[in-house]
Amino acid sequence: MNAPDAGSSDLSRSYVLVVLTEAVVITALWWFERVFSH
């Protein structure tokens, strides 16, 4: 199996940040819906 190459440590941090940002965005959307739907 070919070993994956994640790139520099800066990039590795970016990958984690992408996933965290998405979690925040989805939570914000869920909150947005709850606040304005009634």
């Binding site: 199996m1 070919n2 994640a6 998405e22 819906e33």
Partner: protein, 576 residues
């Protein structure tokens, strides 16, 4: 359109073509023409990736979708950020180190010629057709809304794009994409501003969102699991993940964008740009649709936005029936406006709840009148697209809501800017597709199979000719596609038939060391066959197409892996 708007559109076209042609000076060899000598900065590539994905029909259709059905569409992109991370770690470094022009070239290095050729031909067939649809869809809408001649509209979108893509190659595509993204975002911001300014003074932005929310327009997340629904959290996160992996990892129109970056890490950064900004950008597009809905609660919209058959209906025996519906619609609109105003004026929760109930009731009445109008048009014209619904709007209307607003409600000058933005969205997608179609044609077919020993200058000439030829094909397909409404849907679904299987072949290549060319080839055919049956079998055809992609991957991995184990293994050498 007034003279100033025409001037803005014309200035945009001249600017973009001129900018594209400027880039042709730096293009004197094939690697420069197709890959910009792998020299572009990550941010330009990232914007190009986003511009390619945001076609005119996405811009116009998504705002209409939010107008009719709320923001559920956003979930379609939930798999995208994770797909970008996975691709940055896996396929991006392999493509770079293999020094390939096309994604399919890598398949020959790893497997064999037949697998590469099949993958490339699947891409050429699918994208060749879809390129025509990308030209046709906005051309039809603009020609109906603005009363333009359809053929001239197709040529107005297609010809300038062909000219700068043909002469300037990928540099022209990328740098014009950057500017086109600016025009699109600028246009959207202007539209949102006009929509908000157009609300009554007593209705603020938060009031507008509360009003939209009371009729389901801010519904963004649906955690229910349903195979048949495309716009749910799970379909978007899981099914969408595989779609985005396929699109960004195996579709040459996207792969070629990041192959032009200066280095592996710059290529990765360009993909991560989409990971961060695609969902927010799509939010702006969807919020535009939500504010459109609120705007039309206070400003009377037409009974039907799509005026394609208006003349035919007015001259038919049912004209008086249609007029009666129009009068009924005006009264229902007044009641709905009153209910919407009551929500904004409500001072406590119980008053707001009562007003929300009234709005839902009056909105249902509006839906009923519109559906009767659509049925009437269907009975007069026998046009079946007037039969369906999207949310509470006739399906035939969805793509016409935003263009109608632009033409009838935006101020002079901004109409031109928005039409330019629709042109920009269409042209950026078409240019990337033409460029990638020409790359696959020349690199995977002409240079590999037909004329392997020619000079670089010869291939460069053929590449420009191929770009122009694909442009002509796109315009011809567009001319036919406009008369065959259902064909557009067929073409859109065509990609989903083989996308997942193609991804399966790349996963097989990267993860299964003993995988052979025969295994990959048979696996790819088996994957496509199974997905085809699945997509059209009565028992499974209601399953959302997003799930076709993981299905294709699984079939390729199982069949391709099994065939590889029983077929003679090819000596595995490093292609990294």
């Amino acid at each position: 359109m007034r003279a100033l708007d025409w001037l803005v559109v014309f200035a945009y076209l001249v600017w973009i073509v001129h900018d594209g042609l400027k880039r042709s000076k730096a293009t004197d060899e094939v690697e420069g023409y197709f890959l910009a000598n792998r020299s572009l900065p990550w941010w330009a590539v990232g914007l190009s990736v986003m511009a390619t994905q945001l076609s005119a029909i996405t811009l116009v259709g998504t705002t209409g979708q939010a107008y009719a059905d709320g923001m559920r569409f956003i979930q379609f992109y939930f798999g995208l950020p994770i797909a970008m991370v996975i691709l940055s770690v896996t396929l991006v470094p392999f493509f770079y180190r293999a020094r390939v022009f096309t994604a399919y070239e890598y398949l020959e290095q790893r497997f064999d010629l037949k697998t590469r050729t099949l993958a490339s031909i699947l891409f050429l067939c699918s994208r060749g057709l879809s390129c025509g649809v990308i030209v046709a869809a906005p051309a039809v809408i603009l020609s109906i809304v603005l009363g333009w001649n359809l053929t001239i509209t197709i040529l107005a979108i297609g010809l300038p794009t062909v000219v700068y893509t043909m002469l300037g190659g990928v540099q022209a595509v990328t740098w014009t994409d950057v500017k086109q993204m600016g025009v699109i975002v600028g246009g959207l911001i202007a539209a949102v501003a006009v929509l908000i300014i157009g609300l009554p003074h007593e209705v603020g932005v938060f009031d507008a969102l509360h009003i939209a929310g009371s009729v389901g327009r801010v519904n963004a997340i649906d955690f229910h699991f349903d195979w048949r629904q495309t716009y749910t959290f799970w379909s978007g996160l899981l099914g969408g993940l595989f779609l985005m992996l396929s699109y960004f990892g195996c579709d040459q129109s996207q792969v070629q964008r990041y192959l032009t970056a200066k280095s592996i890490d710059e290529g990765r950064h360009s993909l991560l740009m989409s990971a961060y900004f695609k969902i927010p950008l799509q939010m702006i597009v969807l919020l535009t649709g939500v504010f459109l809905f609120v705007f039309y609660l206070f400003n009377q919209p037409p009974l039907l936005f799509n005026t394609e058959h208006a003349k035919e209906v007015k001259e038919s025996a049912r004209a008086t029936d249609y007029e009666a519906l129009n009068a009924e619609f005006a009264q229902a609109f007044a009641r709905r406006r009153e209910a919407a105003s009551a929500i904004a004026a409500a001072t406590d929760d119980s008053a707001r709840a009562a007003a929300s109930d009234a709005l839902r009731t009056s909105n249902a009445a509006i839906k009923d009148i519109r559906m009767r109008a659509a049925t009437l048009v269907n009975e007069v014209t026998h046009d079946d697209k007037y039969k369906g619904t999207t949310g509470d709007t006739p399906a035939a209307d969805v793509n016409y809501v935003f263009p109608t607003f632009i033409v009838s409600r935006m101020p002079i000058g901004l109409v031109g800017l928005m039409i330019a933005a629709i042109f920009a969205a269409a042209m950026s997608s078409i240019a990337a597709e033409l460029n990638s179609l020409a790359t696959a044609t020349v690199i995977d077919v002409y240079r590999r199979l037909l004329k392997p020993q020619a000079s670089d200058a010869h291939y460069l000439t053929v590449s420009k000719f191929a770009t122009g030829a694909w442009g002509i094909v796109a315009c011809i397909v567009a001319s036919f596609a406009v008369g065959l409404g259902s064909l557009i849907e067929v073409v859109n679904r065509f990609g989903s038939i083989f996308y997942g299987s193609l991804l399966g072949v790349f996963i097989l290549a990267l993860t299964f060391r003993r995988a052979t060319g025969t295994g990959a080839f048979v696996g790819l055919l088996a994957g496509i066959a199974v997905v085809l049956v699945f997509a059209f079998h009565p028992a499974t055809r209601s399953v959302s197409y997003l799930w076709h992609n993981p299905l294709g991957v699984i079939v390729v991995l199982i069949v391709g892996g099994a065939v590889s184990l029983v077929s003679a293994p090819r000596a595995v050498e490093s292609v990294r």
